[in-house]
């Protein structure tokens, strides 16, 4: 027990040290702080993105779902976002570089020449991000307390983890996230693969015997059920997450930190390799701690940038860029403490918001993708209306627990099981196109 506590502590200290040292020799302007001066090569980008996918959700979610729901949990390794990433991220990056963008809201503001749209995107982004951060913190507490055999109180872990995060995010920004990602990945690589191979062989005499033992106890557990979490739920969820992945404000911003479009293309190709690690995911204390800290720090940083640059600035336009940089940094502890507060006090509402997260950020897809086309078919009003409608549907669904099977009981189950985020996205696209058609003459030209 003392050993495991020691290991966790050592890795936390190394992470903190690297995270803070990462800022050395750089003048930390807002551009350095939030997008690393747009200088990250393929490897750093890969570590940042991979750290994002395989968060505490991978640690807790995969093993937990596997235990509770069976084959459905396989969706976690069924990633398709790399295919989208290959084409989408270099374009987002190029646009960001051309216009010196620092946040996702900047992108919308620039592409549609509207500060209000930028602020709307910032607010929807913040609503999706904060619960995400809270889940990371909760996961952190559970993982570390399990790994230390209950010796460490989850609350203490959450406090320590949060303080470490605040410290290196304030000092180093995205550089800190990138460097902690480096040790995290070495840990996962080593420990997880070892345990993933060792445990099945030790307890079941091999990997196939383990699956067969599960199938014997619970027949059908390793395939998909005919309704509910069926094949159409499975496929629509994989596709929704592949579309939504780069629409999170913090992953969107991470693309800006690349030094070239090819750094992002290489990253896209390498990403699936990382998915293989998930085959071996199990509870591992120190790695678990870092799986929360890496995405947590990225989230903190982009939330702070959003707040300072896309919410405060429009309210007080006379604020200078230097002041915005300072405000961004000092919002870090504020956002972290808000998240901490809800981590300790929040109940069902947080889970609800978290479930909505992917549905919410996916509503940015039409606005982003269309703005990258040679001739943007959507107008500002169209995108604005589309996001509002999409977000409303997602929010309404989460609040009422509505499900297609209740609304349309006579429809076949392969339609009923489609992830509701898809419905919201379809309505969003329809509204965007319709409103755009009517407002076409009002907007003069594309940016």
């Amino acid at each position: 027990m003392i050993i495991s506590v020691g290991i966790i502590a050592i890795f936390l200290v190394i992470a903190l040290f690297l995270g803070i040292a990462a800022s050395r020799g750089k003048d930390m302007s807002l551009e350095q702080w939030s997008v690393g001066g747009r200088g990250f090569g393929s490897i750093f980008i890969f570590l940042l993105m991979a750290g994002e996918i395989y968060t505490t959700n991978a640690f807790l979610g995969v093993s937990g779902w596997m235990y509770g729901k069976g084959g459905v949990a396989f969706y976690n390794i069924a990633m398709l976002n790399y295919v989208i990433a290959y084409w989408l991220t270099p374009k987002i990056w190029a646009y960001g570089k051309k216009h010196n963008l620092l946040s996702q809201s900047d992108f919308f503001e620039q592409a549609y020449n509207s500060r209000i749209l930028g602020t709307l995107v910032a607010i929807v982004g913040l609503v999706a991000l904060i619960p995400y951060l809270i889940i990371q913190l909760k996961g952190l507490g559970i993982i570390v307390s399990e790994a230390s055999y209950g010796a460490i109180d989850p609350k203490i872990t959450i406090w320590i983890g949060t303080i470490a995060m605040i410290a290196y995010v304030m000092v180093s920004g995205i550089h800190g996230s990138a460097w902690t990602a480096v040790i995290k990945d070495f840990l996962i690589l080593g420990v997880v693969i070892f345990l993933g191979i060792y445990l099945p062989i030790h307890y079941y005499g091999g990997i196939q015997p383990m699956w067969e033992a599960i199938e014997a106890v619970k027949p059908g557990f390793l395939t998909l059920p005919d309704s509910g979490f069926s094949a159409s739920w499975y496929i629509s969820t994989i596709m929704l997450t592949s579309l939504g992945f780069y629409m999170w404000p913090h992953t969107f911003v991470a693309t800006f930190s690349a030094k070239s479009g090819n750094a992002l293309r290489n990253n896209a190709i390498m990403l699936p390799i990382y998915a293989l690690f998930l085959l071996f995911i199990l509870f591992v204390g120190a790695a678990g701690l870092l799986t929360a800290i890496v995405p947590g720090s990225l989230i903190l940083m982009s939330a702070a940038t959003l707040l300072a640059k896309n919410v405060v600035k429009p309210i007080r336009p006379q604020t200078t860029d230097q002041q915005i940089g300072i405000i961004a940094r000092y919002s870090v502890p504020v956002i972290a403490l808000v998240a901490l507060y809800f981590t300790f006090s929040g109940g069902g509402a947080i889970t609800l918001l978290f479930l909505m997260g992917y549905g919410l950020v996916t509503q940015f897809v039409p606005g982003v993708v269309c703005s990258l086309l040679k001739k943007n078919p959507l107008t500002l009003q169209g995108v604005f209306a589309g996001i509002i409608v999409g977000v409303t549907i997602v929010g309404w669904q989460a609040a009422t627990g509505a499900h297609l099977s209740k609304l349309f009981p006579s429809w076949p189950s392969y339609i009923q099981d489609i992830n509701i985020g898809f419905l919201a996205l379809s309505v969003n696209i329809l509204v965007s196109i319709t409103v755009s058609a009517f407002t076409r003459k009002v907007t003069v030209q594309n940016v």
């Binding site: 295919v83 395939t223 159409s232 479009g261 699936p272 085959l279």
Partner: protein, 68 residues
């Protein structure tokens, strides 16, 4: 077919190949490499998809343009 179109076709296959097979997998049999078939199918597509995207990257004119 232009190189760009070939790229899009390969990307299309890499994206839809895995999901299209899912509705037809009704049983854990056959086990391949010790994995139930559903899991094997997904692991297989991690490799196939990566292979396809490497190919795309090789022939993608956008990626070539950038090398200075």
């Amino acid at each position: 077919m232009t190189r760009k179109k070939l790229c899009y076709l390969l990307t299309f296959i890499a994206y839809f190949g895995m999901p299209l097979g899912i509705p037809f997998i009704k049983s854990t049999e056959p086990y391949i490499l010790g994995l139930p078939f559903l899991l094997f199918w997904m692991v297989l597509w991690i490799f196939l998809g990566t292979g396809l995207m490497i190919l795309v990257h090789r022939i993608n004119p956008d990626a070539k343009e950038e090398v200075e």
